[in-house]
Symmetry: C2
């Protein structure tokens, strides 16, 4: 057995002796039952038994401030969502081969939040499935295979979506039909991104693949959280369309009011996608996802290939999704995300004036990236992981992002309050002070 030197993103199984007995037993059972593919967050894993609002609780009743999970977008165990699930599960749960009104009401409410060009919604269960379907449709529509993604993109775990997710392990080389571009960064980001997309498109054409789609997470989560400036996607979208390709907006991360400025991440950039993929927050934890598409894009795929997902659009998942959409509206969570996000931005920027390790603070609503570097301006991966693990000991949960894992990823449930933001900034201050001491 080897021991990892320094902090890690994931629990190192060789350090099982350092855990309390109860956690150690669960880790042993995980290894035995689930096998070697599964990993736990943090050097010291968190054992959760209950959630409420922005808090998670361990078996001893310790409270954790959840600054990480975007899936419970309206808060852990939101009573309106759990009530909707319970009521519908006791009544009916079946599929879309029968008539059922709820899926239509939800579709109409969802489509009403998007530009009019996006006319149809197709339901599946996970973001992976939503992106997989978007790629199937884009390839069928264009008759071409080429897909352009960013350097550290993550879009899913099906065979197809893993192929366009360079951030995953096991991709020894990219498929012939995939081209990778740098994510947009810095003041010239939009232009450089456009140039690279145009170049990748030309390369795909030259290789005989042609361009099916540009697929981007509207907030570049795994590339390090890059929301700024608003509008930066527009030139690249124009470039891919010039090459005959479609633009797929992956909203699994940026969607559902997260950015505060808009319901959907792409709206901040003034573009209208050909396809939009939705996942994680859509059902507050219920497996539900969707591919939203312009009608003309699915006009042939629909009748010729068809699509049916047994669980996609089932009444219980839809009940959860409807409650989420209603709560976002009724609790004005988009405005809330904007307001608290701006406060968080101020707090983080103030920290940056005192901690030299913070070299950039990027915020859009309740999605923040805090980039860390060492004194030679190199990515401070070790420090970022140490901060994450230190905050976990202080019972605040965050993650990391970026090709070098040098960006603190802050992405709480949207009911995150001004006080929660203050607490996070204070504890981050403490962690950075302690670690640089």
């Amino acid at each position: 057995m080897t021991t990892t030197v320094g902090p890690a993103s994931y629990f190192d199984p060789s350090r099982i002796e350092e855990l309390d007995d109860r956690s150690a037993e669960l880790v042993r059972r995980r290894d035995r039952d689930l096998g070697p593919a599964y990993r736990l967050f943090y050097e010291q894993p968190v054992h959760v038994v209950r959630g409420e609002g922005v808090h998670l609780y361990d078996p001893e009743g310790n409270e954790y401030l959840d600054c990480y999970n975007n899936v419970p977008v309206v808060g852990h165990a939101h009573p309106r969502v759990t009530e909707a699930i319970a009521t519908q599960a006791a009544r009916l749960n079946t599929h879309t081969r029968y008539l059922h009104e709820a899926v239509l009401r939800y579709s109409e409410d969802l489509l009403a939040t998007m530009p009019g060009e996006l006319g149809h919604v197709m339901f599946s269960c996970t973001g992976s499935e939503a992106v997989d379907l978007a790629l199937r449709i884009a390839k069928y529509r264009t008759g071409r295979r080429g897909v352009i993604v960013t350097r550290n993109a993550y879009h899913g775990v099906t065979t197809e979506t893993a192929s366009v997710s360079p951030s995953l392990g096991g991709l020894h080389r990219l498929a012939d039909w995939v081209r990778v571009v740098d994510p947009p960064a810095g003041p010239q980001g939009a232009q450089q991104f456009q140039l690279q997309v145009a170049q990748a498109a030309a390369d795909l054409v030259a290789a005989g693949e042609g361009v099916a789609a540009l697929l981007v997470d509207s907030i570049f989560t795994s590339d390090g959280i890059l929301p700024e400036p608003a509008g930066l996607l527009a030139p690249a979208v124009a470039a891919v369309r010039d090459a005959g390709g479609l633009y797929i907006a992956d909203e699994v991360q940026a969607g559902f009011a997260r950015t505060g400025e808009a319901m959907w991440g792409f709206q901040r950039h003034g573009v209208v996608p050909d396809l939009v993929t939705l996942g994680k927050p859509m059902g507050n934890g219920m497996p539900v996802a969707a591919t939203v598409v312009r009608p003309e894009v699915v006009a042939e795929f629909g009748p010729e290939v068809r699509f049916f997902s047994t669980f996609g659009g089932n009444p219980v998942s839809i009940a959860a999704a409807q409650a989420v959409l209603d709560v976002i509206h009724d609790e004005d969570l988009q405005q809330h995300a904007f307001t608290v996000g701006e406060q968080l931005r101020k707090g983080l920027r103030e920290l940056a004036t005192r901690h030299r390790a913070i070299v950039d603070v990027r915020v859009a609503g309740l999605f923040a990236g805090v980039q860390l570097a060492d004194s030679d301006a190199r990515p401070a991966t070790g420090l970022a992981l140490a901060v994450m693990n230190d905050l976990r000991r202080r019972r605040l949960l965050i993650g990391t992002a970026g090709l070098e894992d040098d960006v603190l990823k802050i992405r709480p449930p949207l009911p995150f309050s001004a006080d929660d933001a203050d607490r996070l900034v204070t504890e981050l201050d403490n962690a950075l002070t302690a670690l640089s001491g």
Copy 2:
């Protein structure tokens, strides 16, 4: 607009004028909201608002006997399942990057129902995802791409699983790495199947692809429901292993006590798979699925590629799955499926003595296929669809299967009673009499 001549599997949108106003409005909204990929069962779609046990109800309170849906395996809205979902949803719903005991307890209970060689379980949300992951693992393990499936196989709707599902539309040609074999039928079925699998394997080797896996639905649902004789899979499994390939048992259809004779379809055939895929009935409608695997098969994939599904193995889905497993055990549904299945077999065989159109009756537990042919022994597709639509008017829901859609597919929730079986046989008798009159 064209009108379809004769009976159809799916509702023909050009016949919307024949529907009642309420159904017609829902159909119009579906077309507008969901687009052209979605289809409805039956010439006259069913509008469902409630389910209980083996019954579904429309808005007028009409009761339908559900002889079709295997997803609600322990019965629609089973109180133990709905209670488990409601309780857990109100408590916590998160992911497997934190420690949580329920997923381990369920894994252990599930693995205890399988041969000891199958040691790890990996969770996802749909059968498509479970098969997709099984193929990823098989290809990684063998370093080869070749996959052998049956002529009318259905294994999912992701890009990868659709590639091995010739029963879907839109597959203008099979991928280079897919080979199709005839499903086993007739007294020489097992040997012919072995021969074809061996030949397909040799062909894949000759083509430079090599063999990654033989992937089969353990009851050949979409090929027409072919359960007999028990043991028929063994020679083909040996053949694929001789060629260095793995055997993936797709238990999305045959699993969870359906066949009465065993918990898993592969057990009837005396084989132990390398990978097993689970889906539809696993959570009684909650989106939950799994890939069960021999530890040695995932030993490299696990640490090198890893796998994480945000919703896979979440506490609410697992609570539903645990309740399903417990109910199958506590209500002795496997024995029940066997007993009622044998009665159904007798009733269907008796019908076959009086209706010449019935040329074969194939039953394993509560999964029955009734094959229909015309007087020249040709597949009676039209009659099968007419029977299905006639039974729907009599408020019994069945489906069809087989390359030619000439097989009545009967696959009710497992609490289907002896009286339900009698009613089905009686109404099928009436339908056949009416349609041949």
